[in-house]
């Protein structure tokens, strides 16, 4: 009998607001799930080598503001500032805004900036509740904002009267920017930088889709989400390139980018000019979480086993992004086993189940090339809202080529069956079924932190130079 390898993967669910707002470990729920993989089956089990977290997040932010990766120091930027817009991410992102904002507010006070506002880059996601705001920004910061006359705004994408027209990007996206941001001569975004299927999170993404209108968001997402050049690690892909160009057109001054480890702790804080500082943050992220692709040497895996970890949230809609990264190392027809408890979330407007928003794919089930054509037609016809489709459509597209087996909590099984997603509560059962499907010699890759992990050869940091029409004509 061959030796086996004991795989331990995270099986966690942690509210992003909890990560960002509290240091109370008693509020943190973590779990793991384990399975034995026979050594001959194991292609690779990839665990990142993470640096130690920073000790004092606020101090790290203050230090970063005065030691920019590129461009002037924040104090220099503020020296001539008339109006300042501070753009933060929303309740579904774990960026610890409550700990980062004091450094920014200190700088505003020191520079004597009297006209400032904080704007939540919630894109088309429903706005934060009073409770969310309190956790995200923090009570002390809210009190300080009130004392300083710093107002708080959220994006309201269907309210045309709240937006100013900026122009059309080179890729054809018409851009309307939230007035409270547009009126500022200094704009800073504070977000989490990570590589993802859409190229990367953080930086200019807090402008587009964060604080732009419905038309801008849908135009960008409808055009570029289905592109094969939009994939994990493609910072230079069309979607992220359009986002960064849009942010440039909106005169984004600078970005503060935090890297969070797989426990949700800040491991780096990079500030500087847009888009350079964000690009640097992504390079640092990739240096930790990108892995040498074993496929070239050993061939693609038949089965991927993926885990989920702290900086995600309660919905598979957000934990499931790793379907697109594991897709890059699993052969066509292979199986992706995704272990995500996804207990759902209680909000100010009611409870949402763990598979909320994945139900949008139900009219197109079962996943097939033919049904994917229907998806594409409905995107073209604007019958699919791509602020949500930007996530479920890529997962669906993977499902047309690979089998997704979801390991989740019992309470999600009924909804999964209703949607048509293969779900069960046992990883052992999912693995046994996958071995049955692919044979006893099936090759297995383990990506415990799939949402962060990407093969290094998928990274596209720089766009290939396009020949000008003049060159083509010659």
């Amino acid at each position: 009998m061959s030796d086996s390898y004991r795989v331990v993967i995270p099986y966690e669910s942690l509210d992003p607001l909890t990560i960002g707002a509290t240091d109370d470990e008693s509020k943190v729920y973590r779990d793991t799930i384990e399975i034995d993989i026979a050594e001959p089956n194991l292609l690779a089990a990839i665990y990142p080598d993470e640096p130690a977290p920073v000790g004092d997040v606020t101090a790290a932010a203050a230090e970063a503001l005065e030691a920019p990766h590129s461009g002037p120091r924040f104090s220099e930027i503020l020296a001539s500032a008339q109006r300042v817009g501070v753009i933060i991410d929303n309740q579904f992102r774990p960026t610890p805004a409550s700990k980062l904002l004091p450094a920014v507010f200190d700088a505003l006070d020191k520079a004597g900036v009297a006209d400032a506002r904080v704007v939540c880059a919630n894109g088309k996601v429903f706005p934060m509740s009073e409770s969310d705001i309190e956790q995200k920004i923090g009570k002390d910061n809210l009190a300080r904002m009130e004392a300083s006359g710093i107002d708080f705004f959220q994006n309201e994408p269907r309210n045309e009267s709240s937006y100013s027209y900026v122009g059309v990007s080179s890729r054809g996206t018409p851009i309307w920017l939230h007035d409270e941001v547009a009126k500022c001569d200094v704009k800073i975004t504070i977000g989490q930088a990570q590589s993802n299927h859409w190229g990367a999170g953080g930086g200019g993404k807090l402008i587009l889709p964060g604080v732009v209108s419905d038309e801008t968001i849908e135009s960008n997402h409808c055009a570029f989400v289905p592109s094969p050049q939009t994939h994990y690690g493609a910072l230079a892909g069309p979607m992220r390139s359009d986002i960064d160009e849009g942010a440039t057109m909106c005169d984004l001054s600078c970005t503060m980018n935090v890297l969070l480890d797989t426990h949700g702790r800040v491991i780096d804080c990079i500030f500087g000019a847009h888009p350079d500082a964000h690009r640097d943050a992504i390079e640092k992220f990739n240096a930790i979480y990108a892995f040498e692709n074993p496929v070239a040497e050993k061939g693609p895996a038949d089965i991927a086993i993926c885990g989920v970890f702290a900086p995600t949230d309660h919905l598979f809609f957000h934990t499931g992004w790793g379907c697109m990264s594991s897709d890059l190392v699993v052969r066509e027809g292979g199986t992706i086993i995704y272990c995500s408890p996804s207990p759902g979330v209680s909000t100010a407007v009611g409870d949402f189940p763990g598979l909320a928003l994945m139900d949008m794919m139900k009219p197109y089930m079962p996943p097939s090339r033919e049904n994917y054509e229907r998806v594409l037609r409905d995107i073209h016809g604007r019958n699919i809202q791509m602020w949500a489709g930007c996530i479920w459509v890529p997962i669906y597209e993977v499902m047309t080529r690979k089998h997704l087996a979801l390991v989740t909590l019992e309470e999600n099984l009924e909804m999964a069956a209703d949607i048509g997603i293969d779900a069960m509560t046992s990883l052992d059962e999912a693995y046994a079924q996958a071995l049955q499907r692919h044979g006893a010699d099936a090759k297995v890759i383990v990506l415990p932190y799939a949402r962060y992990q990407l093969p290094r050869n998928a990274i596209r940091m720089h766009a290939e130079e396009l020949e000008t029409l003049e060159q083509v004509r010659l």
Partner: protein, 98 residues
């Protein structure tokens, strides 16, 4: 079903907004019905303050059937399968409609 807040006796109207309907059913029943209609509205900041009738039109569903289904949330058994099926049926847009 029957998750309406005790202090709320108003019947759901075409002008009732998505967020108002969601708040009437804090247990998630209204969100679940939106899910059955393949509406992302429960999560959408854009649609948050949109009246139910407008949401139905935008999603190419019958406003009347949608209204009936949401009103049926008040019943002990909630909307029937037939009511949900009628509400979920997509209609082609008429000439000149956006």
């Amino acid at each position: 079903m029957g998750g309406m807040s005790p202090d709320t006796t108003d019947e759901i109207r075409g002008s009732t907004t998505i967020v108002e309907i969601l708040r009437l059913y804090p247990g998630g029943e209204a969100a679940a019905l939106m899910s059955k209609l393949s509406w992302p509205c429960a999560h959408c900041g854009g649609a948050f303050h949109e009246p139910l009738t407008m949401a139905a039109k935008r999603h190419r569903n019958s406003p009347r059937a949608v209204l009936d289904a949401f009103r049926a949330l008040e019943l002990e058994d909630g909307p029937s399968d037939n009511q949900i099926a009628l509400a979920a049926t997509k209609h082609r847009r008429g000439p000149g409609e956006p």
